[in-house]
């Protein structure tokens, strides 16, 4: 099972040392005629895929709605404790589709100096509101600038098209299980509407 590594003595030719130089030079010079593998960053950029874990950002859905409902799961799960959320009430939703949403973050901070880009926030988010973007180069003149606030986070996250629009789909099928169990009068969302 175990293999003893091959360890022969140098032969006369190898002992001369000069052949090793020649052989080394041959291989090294051969590299000159191979295509370069280095990138001239920042003029040339590496290919970044969709599932890359760059700086986290908050997203809007295709209707332009800010999706975070400030449930604070990401704040809870974040291993380096980079996320701070100040929960607040959701602004009045003129649209019936979103009238059940009660909460939205008043403030949302991610300290990018603490963030370790682990992607736990994206994984845990039950609203698909926070995503790891493809932004990988961050720089700033001060520490304060690298604490991303809500506006900056929505700026980073941008717009994402959802396959499942959770709140809309729920309202689109009033006969769904969740709705059945709720007495119509006891639904604060309906009341607000």
């Amino acid at each position: 099972m175990a293999k003893v590594v091959d360890r022969r003595k140098l032969n006369f030719w190898e002992e001369l040392y000069l052949p090793a130089i020649a052989s080394g030079m041959k291989r090294t010079f051969a590299q000159m005629f191979k295509p370069a593998i280095t990138l001239q960053y920042p003029e040339q950029r590496p290919e970044i895929f969709d599932d890359y874990r760059g700086a986290p950002g908050l997203v809007r859905d295709q209707d332009g709605r800010e999706k975070c409902v400030s449930c604070q799961l990401c704040e809870y799960i974040c291993p380096p404790r980079a996320i701070v959320i100040v929960p607040g009430e959701a602004p009045d939703q003129p649209d019936y589709d979103y009238s059940e949403i009660e909460k939205a973050p008043k403030e949302f901070y991610i300290d990018m100096l603490r963030c370790i880009y682990c992607g736990y926030c994206e994984e845990i988010c039950p609203e698909q509101a926070i995503f790891m973007t493809d932004l990988y180069e961050l720089n700033a003149g001060s520490r304060q600038e690298l604490v991303h606030d809500k506006a900056k986070l929505y700026d980073v996250g941008g717009l994402r098209v959802d396959a499942i629009q959770k709140w809309k789909d729920k309202n689109a099928s009033p006969g769904s299980e969740e709705r059945k169990n709720v007495p119509p009068s006891g639904n604060p969302g309906d009341g607000a509407h």
Binding site: A2, I77, I116, I164
Partner: protein, 407 residues
């Protein structure tokens, strides 16, 4: 081939007044991280050597005792930071052993890929730095060319190149994308040729041979006494590989050989690493050929509901799944009372996690057996009698990483 470099100890005692103390590191470029060696020199000969460690201490074990089981995974990236995927796998396996959670076959195969890719990557850096310290600059640049390829693969696996945080208790975070396979196959195809290139430059090169053969001989007894693991142990001729001794992740189904050395010197350790890289490429090929389909996270049964996050689609559409998402997120995992030790064959040696649980959300005690920590101890024994220039060969051949040593 051995060189009569050993210093007569009695002569050395007489010359103590002339000895000179020198600090090698912690900022020395050749000490690979923040290792400080306090060397006592007589001319160019080393009389004694005291490794000073702890400059990279981040209290990882304590952090592990205050964090929930899942939250510690990103912290394992930063143990042996040259093989983060391997650390993730080792920690997940230890947790799974404690919680008696199974890992689906596909996730196991993916973990084998993680293990072997990081083994190749870590050995490449070890070899490159080793050669560069001894003056062979070309190797370093060439190994980084291959490492770039591996990092692109790792980026496709988990979305990050370095801080992977890939495994979860009961599986892995995401499945491999389609375009991973052709890239991985291309790498496996061309990699043996690359190793040939390194060998052509080093193995039969007289300078390399002179600088490594007969230097830093670790006898079998010493290797066992100091608890060496990994290529350092095998270089001394002891056949012990955790993958063979206690197969995990289905390693018993893959065909590969374990290299052992005969002399136990720096040259043997170099040869063992080269051989291991070739074997890793073979294992990768076997995984590519045989990887089964199926789930990547163990979501079977009621127990799994408490440990694994539900699928995202269900979270968005199903109330039960949403509740579980919150439960797993906030309550995390209640591990059963018990204690386990799980050792994995990492690139540097056996990385072990000892977990003791009192049934809470976090470990009662989390102990990390870092292979580099054990491997480094032998420096004190090994260095006396060597010339100061040979210390570089020794450090390179022991191939440690301080992130794991200091923890």
């Amino acid at each position: 081939m051995s060189r009569a470099r050993t210093l007569d100890v009695e002569v050395a005692e007489d010359r103590r007044s002339e000895s000179m103390m020198i600090n090698m590191g912690p900022q020395h470029p050749s000490t690979h991280g923040v290792l400080r060696l306090v060397l006592e020199l007589d001319g160019e000969e080393v009389i004694s050597c005291a490794p000073v460690i702890g400059y990279l201490h981040r209290a990882k074990e304590k952090v592990g005792e205050t964090f929930s089981w899942h939250k510690f995974i990103p912290y394992t990236d930063r143990l042996d930071y040259l093989a983060p995927l391997s650390n993730n796998v080792a920690y997940a396996l230890a947790c799974e052993k404690l919680m008696a959670v199974d890992c689906p076959p596909r996730a196991q195969a993916i973990r084998v890929i993680c293990h072997e890719l990081s083994r190749i990557s870590a050995h490449l850096l070890g070899l490159g730095a080793y050669a560069m310290d001894l003056g062979a600059m070309t190797i370093f640049l060439w190994t980084f060319r291959e490492r770039e390829q591996i990092y692109s693969l790792i980026e496709r696996i988990c979305g990050a190149r370095f801080t992977t945080s890939y495994t979860r208790i009961g599986g892995v975070e995401r499945d491999l994308p389609e375009d991973f396979w052709p890239k991985c196959q291309a790498f496996v195809n061309e990699f043996p040729g690359r190793v040939d290139e390194y060998e052509a430059l080093l193995s039969r090169n007289k300078i390399w041979v002179k600088r490594t053969q007969g230097i830093g001989v670790i006898t079998k007894e010493q290797a066992l006494q100091f608890g060496l693991t990994g290529p350092n142990l095998r270089g001394s001729g002891i056949e012990y590989d955790v993958r063979k001794a206690n197969p995990y992740l289905g390693y018993e189904n893959y065909e590969f050989e374990v290299p052992i050395g005969t002399e136990g010197d720096c040259y043997d350790r170099y040869l063992c690493r080269l051989f291991e890289m070739r074997e890793s490429a073979k294992i990768l090929q076997q995984v590519i050929d045989t990887i089964p389909d199926g789930p990547i996270l163990n979501r079977d049964g009621d127990e799994a509901l408490k440990t694994v996050l539900p699928e995202k689609e269900k979270v968005l559409t199903n109330m039960e799944a949403l509740i579980h998402q919150f439960m797993v997120g906030t309550e995390s995992i209640h591990a059963p009372v018990g204690e386990v030790y799980f050792g994995c064959e990492n690139p540097k040696g056996e990385l072990g996690f000892y977990l003791r649980s009192k049934g809470g959300l976090e470990a009662d005690r989390l102990r990390i057996r870092g292979p580099s920590f054990a491997n480094l101890q032998i420096l004190e024994e090994l260095t006396p009698g060597h010339s100061i220039a040979d210390i570089m060969a020794l450090l390179g051949s022991i191939d440690f990483v301080m992130g794991e040593c200091d923890r």
